[in-house]
Symmetry: D2
Subunit: 339 residues, 4 copies
């Protein structure tokens, strides 16, 4: 890390900061420039609260150099992590792009099975569907819960799709992990650390959704929590961020795909359903995500979106999903990948 | 709610939407304008997923009219809610502005007691201090935990300050509530619904911090979760939002104070420590929050910020806190309130 | 537009608003709902300042229904506008995707000609290059100005590429239009109305870049200014918006491509150079933009980015541009378009 | 500036960067840390495009140390700049807080004079009023233009208020400067450099409004343009930024007041009218701005906001303005200033 002093810092003030730096166990390396003095600190420890030094007199700012995550970074692991997903041998993070599709919520046995069959036939590798739903309003439909898990298991038995479903609280991690092939941490829980630690102790892969106002660094630190607790199989999912834009539910920042691939070895998938919030934008953004280099897609598909219980505006129907898959496969080939 | 049809919608398409509206139990009221038809829907139910209708052909958009929160709104309760805080008869939400102050984290007995005495003498009504700390990195200091609670209780016994401390997970709500006078829900957990429901079942007031990318509506819906679970004593806390600004840790949007006072009867406090992230901006923003009409302040104060374990850049020292309190009292008088 | 009254509005207060609505030349249509009264206003005129009514007592909010732009909208023109670009018969807005490429700034004759030849060979339809540069700092390189125009003309003579260059002020519109095939309005000037009106009086196509904090509606209203002044040939360019993200110069919100195609008949191009700010993200985001349905790309290409005078971090070299073009052509085919 | 190399950079790659640094006329100072090498560059020139070095192989990032503005900074001038405003000896930037008030637009002689008298009596030092109006839509009222200037001059003659009015284009700078006491550069034009240079050549003070997505650095660089062109009398005006918040027209980030006071010697005023967009929030945010340390306020006041031509929702009436002024004066006293 670099400590930048204000222009008129006295030698005593500079020495005071150097003493602080040493107190923190770092080696100081002062550089006297034309306009001001900066102090490079070697041995930059990830756990030091750099802010403390900012309080010293005449410190202008602290500039961190080292990323605070470690095990999620490519510094620690150069080769990409390929994660096995479910019963049929599919993976995420390899040459082949994988699609996870299904309704926002499990609403009924018939509803889920119909969509499971449709997405399996179109080439999805996994079925998504919420059994417990985190809802912004306490008056909204909260999911079929344990019954929803049973229906998901039945859909897997029939279609051999892997099951991806959200876990909302640490108390139900075991219950959900007993059925699900992949646990999903929702965007609202990206920084709910007790839950991150709980899924870190399970031997199922985890899809971690980026919080709508998380920086890339916070996103990777949340993954680090899971890996640090013992589970290396983390799949990062971009699902849109909150900005001033009002024609979308969220702004989908696809440049995070190449940015993450540069910094981490973990697979990256994109959720254009939450990432746009409107069904007509979902297929083009699926194609764009594939073209940008995503390892997979997470897409909300409903047999009858006009009557969906939740997130209805952003679910696409079976027909639109099939059409998208055909095009996405060609885009994957265009960039030298399979799907 | 209002359904806006696209300009060239046919009578059949309009009728299809009217049928959907009726299916949802609403009364339709179509209005044929010069450019397009809109369908006003009466009996606008809070639990209907309005998005579903957006999927019907030739619907341009759905415009909600009714706010989705109820018990938090001034429609249900006109008079302001005044909430008793702790052992010494202080309140938040009345004529008197209350200040909650203390270190980010409980670091040691001596550290907490020194600051408790200092803020009590300067006129604070409550002591804040984290026993469990939610940290962005798994490698950072995570708090003294149960030991921290004991130290907080000791500080109350000596100073008669109310104790405000954060609860991180539903499993520890009872443990924390046994000591704390006010439970704090952190910004990262504003939409962690299991925790909101857990603190909704406790008879201690709750300070609910706004998530850094939450809309005002989402903020009030989170309060609604707590009230709906049985606890009407919710104190709303603005602590800054995430924007493109880079000279602050968060952007502190003080206009939410008058905006909330217009919409809700709940008390509103402001946290300029997280709301700016830099100690030198904290005192002026404390004064600004009081001038804007806040019912209280939440301020991080440390005896030696250069050596604080957490959030060091934003903690002010005892001296700065005392000086701020003197000025804040005068600002309160200037706008006709006490402090 | 819809006027929403507060819950306890009296009949007199409602009548006062109805009178105001009539005063503004609109027909009122009050609807008494279960919770509140709304007043639908028919004949919604685009020029009325709806805000005025918000000041009337007990008005909660005004909800506009009609988009404020007209000539840019698909309501007025259903078929897509295809715009001829330059001397060689290329177009933007049709079946064929067009690429505009070249250095950020014209730095020298040799520099521009080398890059012009390289991008022409790789299949670009137009050459970009700034003669006047708007720079954030007054101490930065401001461009070769008139000399830069001459060099651009020479490059066209040799390569037959169309010339795209920015015009910074209304006084130089004629001078630039005498050479350029397409005038570019930069993001900083998207709402500089005197300049929009000036390019609206010229018979050259205009590329209008979206301002970094402009809503889609403001973007289309800026296009409306140009069309309204007499020039229907406006090409919309998304170049990234300002958000909290710090791993990019701007966040590139590609969902605006399908969103704009739904609302306007004008061609839409994407600039992944400004849209990311880092060379390594430019090629994948070019492919993503094509997959999302863009009509064209605007890409900064430099023969030696390490020595570029301006925007150096985001310029790609000739080799990277060629490689991207080959892949982009395949992505275009994958979605049924040519390039 | 600091160049951070990636972890596995070879000695040759590091030497290549050192050579580039020297080529740019800087002195290199490499520091070999535990995880990576960084190269501190001394003689950090403000005009070098640091981005160029980012393109060199294995460079991770460039960290600027020096602020790119100079004459606007407190490094160059420690004492605060106090700027004389208009005919009656008022100033901005000194001990006394000054209020500029008046309608958004000059609509008629009678309208302006009534408001001029009202704000003068309440203690304003200057009258604002737009003669030319930059409007988001080409169909909106564009101002009385030259006639508006005449009316403003008449109001000054009667009330002795200084006249503050916006200049929209470089061609009319002389015409406006012949009447106005202070020229206003609107937020949309904050980076319209030809206009900044034009007002930099005039001997009237300039109020420069921050663009809605400008960083503090860009804001100060825009001021630098004006100072660099010859006019040192720049008054900075915060008027709100664009964020995801939807209960306000803009988010008003008052922490910029102490942040600017730390970095620049120029006076800082706040515009809570544009900064909130809703009349009922304007008075509390005026008080908050004063408490935060602003040197002045810019407030839209209209005799009859229900019938205002422009920005109607955010204009307050004469009565609300008087009441605010009385309270603001007390808040000013509370923090040790006059008004």
């Amino acid at each position: 890390m670099i400590v930048v002093m204000k222009p008129n810092a006295t030698p005593e003030q500079i020495q005071h900061v150097i003493n602080l730096v040493r107190e923190y166990g770092l080696k100081d390396h002062p550089i006297v420039g034309t306009d001001r003095t900066v102090i490079a600190c070697i041995g930059d420890k990830r756990a030091v609260d750099k802010g403390a030094i900012e309080n010293a007199p005449m410190v202008e700012k602290i500039v961190p150099i080292l990323a605070p995550y470690k095990m999620a970074s490519r510094e620690v692991r150069q080769e990409r992590t390929e994660i096995a997903i479910g019963p049929a041998g599919a993976t995420l993070g390899g040459q082949k792009i994988g699609v996870i599709a299904g309704p926002c919520a499990v609403e009924s046995r018939e509803q889920l099975l119909q969509t499971a069959r449709a997405v399996a036939e179109a080439g999805a590798i996994a079925l998504r569907g919420g059994a417990w739903k985190p809802r912004t309003s306490p008056y909204d439909f909260q999911g079929l819960q344990a019954k929803g898990l049973e229906i998901l298991a039945e859909a897997r038995a029939e279609t051999h799709l892997a099951i991806v479903t959200e876990v909302l609280r640490s108390e139900t991690v075991q219950q959900v992990a007993a059925v699900a092939d992949v646990l999903q941490i929702g965007a609202r829980n990206m920084q709910h650390y007790p839950l991150l630690e709980a899924v870190g102790k399970v031997d199922k892969p985890v899809i971690l959704k980026r919080g709508p106002s998380s920086t890339m660094e916070e996103f990777l630190l949340a993954a680090e929590y899971i890996i640090n607790a013992g589970n290396p199989n983390v799949i990062l999912c971009e699902r849109g961020i909150r900005t001033f834009e009002d024609y979308v539910r969220n702004t989908l920042p696809l440049a995070i795909v190449p940015a993450l691939r540069e910094r981490t070895h973990l697979p990256v998938v994109v959720d254009p359903s939450h990432g746009t919030g409107h069904a007509h934008m979902v297929p083009p953004m699926c194609l764009a995500a594939v073209a940008a280099g995503a390892d997979g897609l997470l897409v909300e598909v409903h047999r009858d979106p006009e009557h969906a219980y939740t997130d209805a505006a952003q679910q696409i129907n079976h027909h639109a999903f099939c059409a998208m898959m055909k095009r996405a496969r060609k885009v994957a080939e265009a960039i030298g990948r399979d799907m």
